[in-house]
């Protein structure tokens, strides 16, 4: 197989419309700023996200770009099947396919690597149907409302990493938060002969900036630790050129450890925090600070490893008590073309629980990495 089609595919993914970039929808994000994306490649996500700080193709940390010794590109896609159990007893099944991350990186000099790409910062795709009866002109009138939003806040990243010492690499990145969501609100009336359906359409544009710093330290040949910090400006939402909302974005910080107990085994774990509760009036009391953790392992040869992991933590948005998330994942990878390409497959099971709602998600992940 020549690499040209694969490169072409990567380019197609790179220019795919932004409304398909969302990582993973959740009903918990509807009353908040959205559903935060997972800044992980398929490799990292198949291992519960534990490898994300150490994986150059996970857009979580910039310092890991220092490990990229050849020009490379990686794209992630995921197809999710989501079931929602409301406390009212209603159950709904949803599905969606997304391209949550693309990373392109390569060495600039022997010590410096640069990279960039996009990932989902906040997913804003959802659709809600509600039914009610209102009194119109003295007559009870059944109505059906449908509010849909299709889009995301996308994180465009330009990053560089420097290997200062053979045991220390540091990275920094500039993040441009952009994107939009097409929003439609429709009210239809049971008496369609007299009442016309009302439809409002608009496009909400998002804008913000951010910066990130990170470091990778090799304490030992088999033990590596990572730390990262990120700060973002306010996220501005504009409708028709008018700013409708401005929200602070959280500080993000975390740490991870990676251990190679043998030639064919890698273990990793991460913890991270984000102070979403301070994001401002837009999110209101529904925003919560989050702490997330993950543990994962990669077994087998580097050319065809098997991965599995577990993750847990809290969700940023939800009414009442802070919703929680537990996930289990597994996957495998396969190198081809003499290591110039790698295909990663993964499957993830998430369960999110909050006041009045339980969400269960199966996600099939597919990732492609090429080194032309």
């Amino acid at each position: 197989m020549t690499l040209r089609p694969v490169v072409a595919l990567a380019i197609v993914m790179a220019i795919w419309p932004s409304d398909r970039l969302a990582a993973q929808d959740s009903q918990f994000g509807i009353r908040g700023l959205g559903t935060p994306g997972k800044w992980e490649s398929v490799r990292a996500r198949s291992a519960g996200g534990a490898f994300a700080p150490f994986d150059a193709f996970s857009p979580l940390m910039d310092a890991s770009l220092a490990d990229v010794r050849r020009m490379s590109a990686s794209v992630t896609s995921g197809t999710s099947w989501r079931s929602i159990d409301a406390v009212s007893g209603a159950q709904t099944s949803l599905r969606g396919t997304r391209f949550p991350a693309l990373v392109i990186s390569g060495p600039l000099t022997g010590r410096i690597s640069i990279g960039g790409g996009f990932t989902t910062y906040l997913d804003r795709s959802f659709g809600i149907i509600t039914q009610d009866t209102i009194d119109l002109r003295g007559v009870p009138q059944p109505v059906t409302d449908e509010v849909t939003s299709d889009g995301a806040v996308t994180d465009l990243r330009l990053a560089a990493a420097v290997r200062i010492h053979r045991r220390l690499a540091v990275g920094a990145g500039f993040h441009l938060l952009t994107g939009s969501s097409r929003v439609i609100a429709t009210r239809s009336f049971a008496d369609s002969a007299n009442y016309k359906t009302s439809t409002s359409r608009d496009e909400v544009a998002y804008e913000g900036q951010g910066a990130s710093l990170s470091a990778l330290v090799d304490l030992h040949a088999d033990l590596r630790i990572a730390g990262w910090f990120r700060s973002d400006s306010k996220l501005r939402a504009d409708v028709r050129g008018r700013t409708t909302e401005e929200n602070d974005l959280p500080l993000t910080y975390g740490a991870g450890v990676l251990w190679r107990p043998g030639g064919q085994a890698i273990l990793a774990g991460t913890v991270s925090w984000r102070n979403w509760a301070s994001t401002g009036p837009g999110a209101g009391p529904n925003a919560h600070d989050t702490f997330n953790w993950s543990l994962g392992a990669e077994l087998g040869s580097a050319s065809s490893p098997i991965r599995f992991g577990v993750r847990g933590g809290r969700l940023a948005f939800g009414v009442g008590t802070t919703p929680t998330e537990v996930g289990y994942s597994a996957g495998l990878g396969r190198q081809f073309s003499g290591g110039r390409g790698r295909l990663d497959l993964g499957i993830e099971r998430l369960e999110r629980k909050g006041t009045g709602l339980t969400e269960r998600v199966w996600t099939f992940l597919l990732g492609l990495t090429v080194r032309p």
Partner: protein, 432 residues
């Protein structure tokens, strides 16, 4: 690997979405709400006026004959001229006179009060000079004469259907006939009656000096509340018609045989048809008149609020009109009031637009408030600021009878026209 790459592409292409779920509100719904507001705008209709003369009585699709306690109405028809001579031989310029033997009149009764009993239709001879200047009074004496023919509609309708093949071949449909030879064909569940009258030359004389022109008046009587409407020339193929049956002699100049006689017939449709009634319709006043003869229309202008264009989506619009007097018209003969958009506001001569308007059926004698749904029209005003925010109120069909309704105008503060709007406020997008 090719298969893997293909699989990847298939997954990429399979972006099937199902992202809409029943909302568990308010906890898992967007912060904003779709808000409906309902208001009656009592002062935005202004500068409304009535104008008369759009469709003249002789331009109408139908002509009304009625015998009511308050109104008398009579239909009239003047038939076109008939040939008086024919050229019996092709290529021969010599002509011979025709001799009319008889004639058959066809009248189509398109509307009648079906609750009326003992409905009679009577035909009278009218001067062939009758035209649009004729009035009820000027023709009254002719309707006082002996009718040239009359027929009981109830009697005809009670007769058995004649369905034999010979009849079907001759008439094209089943018929009913009475002892006097009148023929009736019915259509649309007997709502529409086609009547045929056979006249001899005494009843319908063929006057060469008048070029065969013939004037006929139509009057209806009944036990009570007699009324009927007949199709006119403007209605197309349903127009009244008279079939003249005649013969002429073909001179034989070659052989020794006697001159032969040829039979022929020719159809004539009206040159003029109309109706006259008494008393005449009152002159226009401050109110918004709709209908009558000649037809009246009312131009209603709306000062459309700018805020409705910017921030709201109109889901229902109803114009509210209060009758100033009970609608004048034929009993049990409801009529339609149309609200039609205009292309541009040129006052009385504003051209009508093909855009959608609204309509409502009004019952004569009613003083109930009239409501006309104008949702599509008002929505178009909200979307396009170049559209004239005005509409004409008119009758459908126009000038076919003396039926008329008058609504209070904006000059009557307590009863002025109003616009009842139901509208949805723009959804607050961009807010969580």
């Amino acid at each position: 690997m090719r298969r893997l790459a293909l699989g990847f592409l298939l997954v990429a292409a399979a972006c099937t979405e199902e992202a809409t779920a029943p909302g568990d509100c308010p906890n898992f719904c967007p912060g904003g709400q779709i808000v409906v507001q309902d208001s009656i705008f009592t002062t935005i209709i202004e500068r409304d006026s009535a104008f008369r003369g759009y469709v003249q009585v002789y331009q109408a699709d139908a002509m009304t004959a009625a015998d009511l306690p308050d109104v008398q109405s009579r239909a009239l028809v003047v038939l076109s001229t008939m040939i008086t001579r024919v050229a019996p031989k092709t290529g021969d310029t010599a002509t011979v006179p025709i001799a009319v033997d008889s004639s058959r009149l066809r009248l189509k009764m398109v509307r009648r009060n079906r609750a009326t009993t003992n409905l009679w239709l009577k035909l009278y001879a009218l001067p062939t000079t009758t035209d649009s200047t004729a009035s009820f009074a000027s023709l009254d004496s002719y309707f006082g004469a002996t009718p040239i023919d009359s027929v009981s509609i109830d009697d005809l309708l009670s007769r058995p259907l004649i369905t034999d093949t010979a009849t079907l071949r001759l008439w094209g449909d089943t018929i009913q006939t009475d002892s006097a030879g009148h023929v009736l064909q019915t259509a649309d569940s007997a709502k529409v009656l086609t009547l045929f009258f056979d006249f001899d030359t005494l009843q319908a004389p063929f006057v060469v000096a008048d070029s065969g022109r013939l004037g006929l008046g139509i009057r209806v009587t009944a036990d009570s509340l007699a009324s009927a409407a007949f199709a006119t020339t403007e209605s197309g193929s349903d127009a009244p018609s008279l079939l003249w049956f005649y013969h002429y002699t073909i001179p034989d100049t070659v052989s020794a045989t006697p001159d032969s006689v040829a039979q022929a017939s020719q159809l004539r449709t009206p040159k003029f048809d109309s109706f006259v009634f008494d008393p005449p319709i009152p002159a226009l006043d401050d109110n918004l008149a709709v209908g009558g003869v000649p037809s009246a229309r009312s131009l209603v202008r709306v000062a459309f609020p700018a805020f409705l264009r910017d921030s709201f989506d109109i889901v229902r619009a109803t114009v509210i009109l209060v009758p100033a007097v009970a609608a004048l018209g034929l009993p049990a003969d409801s009529f339609t009031v149309l609200a039609r958009p205009i292309q541009t506001d040129l006052g009385a001569k504003s051209p009508l637009s093909l855009g959608s308007g609204g309509s409502v059926v009004v019952r004569p004698g009613s003083t109930d408030t009239v409501r006309i749904e104008l949702t599509n029209l008002v929505r178009s005003w909200a979307l396009d600021t170049t559209i004239a925010t005005a509409f004409f109120l008119g009758q459908q069909p126009e000038a076919t009878s003396f039926t008329e309704i008058r609504f209070y105008s904006s000059r009557a503060p307590a009863f002025r026209p109003a616009l009842h709007l139901t509208y949805v406020k723009r959804f607050p997008f961009g807010e969580p």
